[in-house]
């Protein structure tokens, strides 16, 4: 059995959507960081993520029969066509909210990329081997901040616990196996997301414990829908800003 080119394109697009949307979210911190160094840190991470998104979109557009390019994929799709997890489209909130979301996502992204380095599709394994080096650095940075603020003052501790409690219901979706994941996994192209949960939970729990934060229960209501194009209202607003220029001036060139 061979993976359909359409499936590989859809899979690469799904991976790209997460990092593009999170990169766009983080770039909004540009000029608003608490101090210059941290402003630079988030914009550097944004740059890495958008770079990774480009690589995935290029892979998706390669051999496209309907004339898709990395730009049309990023700029000319509507919210329901994006397959990112809900977690990455949530508003930035305060510094602690942003870093908590980053920590939860970076840790997931690290284990996802680790699995993708073993992909039977050489384009994906090559991309993952490159991206995981950047993401290791991100994961280390966001974990350091979660520990510093969680195990900080009474005020920072309570804000981090509340950030965690609000974001937690969005983490279950990271480990949802869609039909595309199942198809891709059958050909050793990508992992089953559900198989990444144990490693993610162990790492996240270890860091949260160091941060003196309480790990919320896995039971309870979980938010889902992003992988099927059902998004929060926040994504539309993000896209309206991100896509304005290429939609208003379709022939614009640098």
């Amino acid at each position: 059995m061979k993976l359909d080119t359409c499936d590989l394109a859809a899979y690469a697009t799904m991976r790209a959507d997460d990092v593009l949307i999170l990169g766009q979210r983080l770039s909004a911190w540009c000029g608003h960081g608490p101090v210059l160094e941290q402003d630079i840190a988030l914009t550097n991470i944004a740059l890495d993520l958008i770079g990774q998104a480009r690589a995935y979109y290029q892979l998706a557009a390669h051999g496209s029969s309907d004339g898709q390019t990395e730009d049309t994929l990023a700029y000319l799709r509507d919210a329901h066509e994006f397959k990112n997890h809900l977690l990455v489209e949530l508003p930035n909130g305060h510094w602690g909210d942003t870093l908590m979301r980053q920590f939860l996502f970076d840790t997931y992204n690290f284990y996802l990329l680790e699995a993708l380095t073993k992909s039977s599709a050489p384009e994906l394994s090559g991309l993952a081997a490159k991206a995981i080096k950047e993401v290791s650095y991100h994961a280390q940075y966001s974990a350091e901040w979660v520990i510093r603020l969680g195990d900080g003052t009474e005020e920072s501790h309570s804000r981090m616990q509340s950030a965690l409690d609000i974001l937690w219901p969005y983490t279950d979706e990271l480990f949802e196996d869609t039909s595309l994941d199942v198809a891709v996994h059958a050909l050793q192209v990508g992992p089953l997301p559900s198989a990444l949960r144990a490693d993610w939970l162990a790492k996240v729990s270890e860091v949260l414990q160091m941060a003196t934060l309480t790990v919320p229960s896995l039971d309870g209501y979980h938010q889902r829908g992003g992988l099927h194009g059902k998004h929060t209202e926040h994504l539309g607003i993000l896209l309206a800003e991100m896509q304005f220029l290429p939609r208003a001036y379709p022939t614009a060139q640098w």
Binding site: E37, I40, A41, N44, D48, G126, K130, K133, E134, Y137
Partner: protein, 165 residues
């Protein structure tokens, strides 16, 4: 590796292409040039490894490579990006490391084949100005994707550190 006379000319030409952000180090010494191939019907194709996936300088460097080769040699020039295996700071040559240091940027410490380095466990970065190892990391990220920001506790000068990748 046997390098024939034509290839040597191409390598020499590429050694004149400097990194736009670190204008004292060539892309050859940064380990970005992976191979040179002859194109059918004349000309050359250069395999370039991008340093960071999102580095905005990557496309600029590809343009510089084409301009330099067109100026130094005749024939068509093509550039191909090589993602796999991924670029690593281990590919920076000894000359490149010395040039970084002379420019005031501390070269990467250790090799990424040591996993602890990749996760930031080993970090004794000597100051490129006074050589003292009593330095402090100010910021994990710096002015470009490849650098972090340090300060020397001995001579008190701030400096960039080329991150291990």
């Amino acid at each position: 590796m046997v390098i024939n006379a034509t290839d040597k000319k191409v390598w020499d030409s590429l050694a004149r292409v400097m990194d736009p952000e670190i204008p004292v180090v060539s892309i050859v010494d940064l380990g970005m040039v992976r191979w040179i191939r002859s194109l059918e019907g004349g000309g050359h194709c250069v395999g370039l490894s991008p340093t960071y996936t999102g580095c905005p300088a990557t496309e600029h460097i590809a343009r510089l490579v084409k301009e330099q080769l067109l100026a130094d040699l005749c024939g068509p020039v093509a550039v191909e990006f090589v993602v796999s295996p991924p670029w690593t700071t281990d590919w920076i040559t000894a000359t490149g490391r010395q040039q970084l240091s002379d420019f005031g940027i501390a070269p990467p410490v250790g090799s990424v084949s040591d996993k602890r380095v990749l996760f930031g466990a080993v970090k004794e970065v000597p100051c490129p100005r006074c050589g003292n190892i009593h330095t402090r990391r100010v910021s994990a990220f710096g002015s470009t994707p490849c650098k972090a920001h340090y300060t020397c506790l001995s001579c008190l000068e701030p400096f960039d550190y080329f991150k291990c990748l």
